[in-house]
């Protein structure tokens, strides 16, 4: 099969072959869905909860579907998409078909997991949004730096230090806002360190980022063993609780998902807009993009490349610091060693997936957030998949995204290249 595909690749051209492979793949997925997901759930019903919270203003009935029939139906759609893909190989809307198949697969999986049980769909969506917060902030941090031509692989370390600083500062002051400010300052400081190493000392940007990551992990672990264990009061910050926006928060489905959240989610929405406008509709943004695409040309027309890069990397650091505060002030409420668990790197993948744009990065973060929320839900539901396998899911999704998309999305041309004045 692969040998035949390879021969076809040389004769009929790569694009057509890839489309064919996708088409066959969709049909295979459909068959797997019927066999593995539809097999053991005959006669059961899947119940999806649409309400969250004790007393919704407008209660909705639960969504109940016959499990096996739904899975077969979704498999049918997948198979149909595969046939369309095969017959009209090379069609321009392959991405739409891919999206349809992905949605069907996830829906069938959820139906299978909820067969004979009840799963809160709105709760899952709301958790998806919350879990995408640190990833989105990491992605924003990465894209601010990389739009100006500096690779920021230190997001993980910045998140971790932001989380630590937020916990300690908020605990000392007894005020969440002080915690946020401290996280932003610490993040900005790490951004400055990265900028000095990468821009002033021409340290390889990947190595500079790795230094910050290892140093951040070591320093926060050291301080938490030495200081936080001895003085637990320093690790007991107040938290941001979800605020329901009056009126909007009472709308069924949308309200609990979008309008009953903590500060971090609202800040994320605002930042998407601000970064998008700043990058693409202001003079500053035009300059940043010029520096990231062609620094020498930018320098020639009078843009200060070095200054622009410093500003952006420090801003990126502050962004990641803010995102780090989510871990302690928005989520768990206390600092733990290594609590960011790779979210910074997943944020980088989201940035790549989103094509170095804030809106794209946000939707990519939602996908990773969904993978994270899903593994959490499934381990609570106890569907028979080992929790270890579920915990791998977000990382596998990240690898798939990076491997599948790099080369297909265009990155800033001068990304990662140090700038030297001649």
């Amino acid at each position: 099969m692969t040998a035949a595909a390879a021969t076809a690749a040389t004769t009929a051209g790569r694009v057509v072959t890839r489309e064919r492979v996708l088409g066959v793949g969709y049909i295979v997925i459909a068959i797997l869905m019927v066999v593995f997901l539809g097999g053991g759930i005959a006669g059961e019903e899947s119940k999806f909860g649409l309400n969250v919270g004790p007393r919704p203003v407008i209660p909705l009935p639960d969504l109940v579907v016959p499990a096996q029939l739904t899975v077969y139906l979704l498999a049918g759609i997948c198979a149909f998409a595969g046939v369309v893909q095969l017959l009209r190989a090379g069609v321009r809307w392959w991405a739409v078909l891919l999206g349809i198949v992905a949605v069907c697969l996830v829906a069938a999986f959820l139906t299978w997991a909820a067969a004979g049980r009840s799963m809160s769909l709105v709760g899952l969506m709301s958790q998806t949004l919350q879990r995408s917060v640190p990833i989105a902030f990491g992605a924003f941090s990465g894209l601010l730096c990389e739009r100006s031509g500096v690779v920021n692989i230190a997001i993980e370390g910045m998140l971790l230090c932001g989380a630590f600083a937020a916990a300690v500062a908020a605990s000392i002051a007894g005020n969440v806002w002080v915690g946020i400010a401290a996280a932003i300052v610490v993040g900005g400081f790490l951004g400055l360190l990265l900028a000095v190493l990468a821009i002033r000392y021409f340290v390889d940007q990947i190595i500079a980022g790795t230094v910050i990551n290892i140093g951040a992990a070591g320093l926060t672990a050291f301080l938490s063993s030495k200081v936080l264990v001895a003085l637990p009061d320093l690790n007991n910050p107040p938290r941001f609780l979800p605020d329901k926006i009056p009126g909007l928060g009472d709308i069924p489905i949308v309200g609990p998902i979008l309008f009953t959240n903590s500060l971090f989610v609202y800040a994320m929405f605002v930042l998407i807009l601000v970064i998008h406008l700043a990058l693409f509709y202001t003079r500053y943004g035009l300059r940043v993009r010029a520096v990231g695409e062609h620094p020498i040309a930018a320098e020639t027309v009078g843009i200060d490349v070095v200054r622009t890069r410093y500003i952006n990397v420090v801003l990126g650091g502050m962004m990641a610091g803010f995102g780090g505060a989510y871990f302690t002030l928005g989520s768990t409420g206390s600092f733990d060693k290594g609590m960011t668990a790779g979210k910074g790197f997943i944020g980088l993948a989201a940035m790549i997936f989103g094509g170095w744009t804030p809106i794209g990065a946000f939707f990519a973060s939602l996908i990773f957030g969904f993978a994270d929320a899903l593994q959490n839900r499934l381990s609570i539901l106890n569907v028979g998949i080992p929790s270890e396998v579920l915990l791998m899911v977000p990382y596998i999704v990240t690898i798939a995204v990076v491997a599948g998309l790099v080369g297909r999305v265009r990155m800033p041309a001068a990304d990662g290249k140090p700038f030297r004045r001649e």
């Binding site: 290892i214 070591g218 080992p386 990304d415």
Partner: protein, 443 residues
């Protein structure tokens, strides 16, 4: 007429501009290149004491500066220091300095032993006392063993232009494979069983490293992201495997594997001390990597692709295949680190068996200038830090994580020699910046 194509310089053919470029590249990277005087190739870099001295300035100052900053961290992170500072500032500073010397003193005696004890023990002639006195050194070499393998893995990747941050994960896979081969295969004599278990470890690491190598070659996915994700996956794989009946030790609920059989255990070098034959294997591995990189055709290709993929491609090398091969070789070394740790030191697999060897390895490779001999020296130094950090925590309450901070600082200063030169106002002869890894995301 011979239908063979002309031999390239990397195959022992005539010298070319390209070969000179690679030699110049080695030099530009501040490393003595392997071509000795008169163009004769040698395994070891030529012995030029002045050059070695020059090469040691930055690493030595980097370590010194890192230790000084570490000292500030010890003092400033002590809540008692801040309380005393308000009432008795001079006394607080004196106590702080005392604490630093106590911590670093414990670090040194924990890793090298105390000289008086060694002299006394040798004087007394009591073999047990001598063994005890040398125990810290044994612990240092024991810690250095996996570090040498792991450092070589990163160094090999560096030479081929690959930043393998996934050594930690590959090490876990190597450990899984080696332990399984060590307890599941029975009835073999040790001279078959032990090599088999070691090879299994190499295989595990190689398989795990193949994935990022393949993805980089085929799709351009940057190895840094993929290997880090593979690290996180490997932790879950270890947990999963340790819960599997047949792998988990019978009668235990916690995640722990069965014990490696005696026929697959690496014997200790000296009775009653923990340092084992694995240390010698690590030295052999360093020699092999040195030969591979600087004497073999493949090694030349690795270095050519690492320095200038465009030129290497133009010279007819297969970039994709070289990348995969270098990654697999790097992973095999990482697998050896995990395997030897299992078969020699631990004897069974538990989830947290590696205190971050894979990340120390990055510092080692940078500190050692990606040269095998340099990696060995750096690994023994870091082994001493690791071995001494536990007694340090026990004696002075300074957390072992201090060592990680010191390592990060060492990497930073070694990677930014200009920073060290600026701090100590050393005159710059000739600096050449290098940019090897950060070429965006491989698109």
């Amino acid at each position: 007429m011979s239908d063979e194509r002309p031999k390239g310089p990397w195959e022992g053919g005539p010298d070319s501009t390209f070969a000179r470029e690679i030699a110049a590249g080695d030099e530009a990277l501040d490393r003595p290149h392997p071509t000795g005087p008169g163009g004769r190739r040698t395994i070891w870099p030529r012995i030029d004491l002045r050059a070695i001295g020059r090469g040691l300035v930055v690493p030595v100052l980097a370590i010194f500066t890192a230790l000084v900053i570490g000292a500030f961290i010890i003092v400033l992170s002590d809540p008692a220091f801040w309380q005393e500072l308000a009432t008795d500032p001079l006394g607080a500073i004196a106590t702080g300095i005392g604490n630093v010397f106590a911590a670093y003193g414990a670090l040194i005696t924990g890793s090298l032993g105390s000289p008086t004890e060694i002299v006394q023990a040798i004087g007394s002639g009591d073999s047990k006392a001598i063994t005890m006195a040398f125990q810290p050194i044994s612990e240092t070499l024991l810690s250095a063993t996996p570090l040498i393998f792991a450092g070589l893995a990163v160094a090999l990747g560096f030479r081929a232009g690959l930043f393998n941050i996934g050594v930690e994960g590959q090490l876990y896979l190597g450990a899984i494979f080696a332990v399984y081969a060590g307890f599941a295969i029975t009835g073999l004599p040790w001279f078959i069983h032990l090599p088999l278990a070691i090879l299994a470890g190499m295989l595990g690491g190689a398989i795990w490293a193949f994935v990022p190598g393949f993805l980089k070659a085929r799709t351009g996915a940057h190895e840094v992201i993929v290997t880090i994700m593979m690290n996180y996956i490997s932790y879950q794989v270890v947990m999963l495997v340790l819960k599997t009946p047949g792998f988990q030790r019978p009668g235990r609920d916690d995640p722990i594997s069965q014990n490696v059989l005696p026929s697959a255990t690496l014997p200790p070098l000296i009775p009653d001390l923990r340092v084992h034959v694995g240390f010698f294997l690590a030295l052999i591995a360093a020699a092999v990597v040195s030969w591979l990189l600087f004497r073999s055709t493949k090694g030349y290709e690795f270095r050519a692709v690492g320095l200038n993929p465009g030129a290497a491609k133009y010279a007819g090398m297969n970039i994709g295949r070289t990348t995969i091969l270098a990654m697999v070789a790097s992973g095999a070394l990482a697998g050896l680190a995990g395997g030897v740790e299992m078969l020699g030191t631990q004897g069974n697999l538990t989830p947290g068996f590696s205190p971050g060897y894979g990340f120390d390895a990055i510092a080692l490779a940078l500190l050692g200038g990606s040269r095998p001999l340099g990696v060995v020296a750096a690994a023994i130094l870091f082994g001493a830090l690791r071995a001494g950090s536990t007694p340090m925590q026990a004696a002075t309450g300074t957390p072992v994580d201090l060592v990680v901070v010191i390592q990060a600082l060492v990497i930073m200063f070694v990677a930014a020699p200009a920073l060290v030169r600026a701090i100590y106002r050393i005159k710059v002869g000739r600096t050449t910046g290098t940019e090897v890894f950060s070429k965006g995301w491989g698109a």
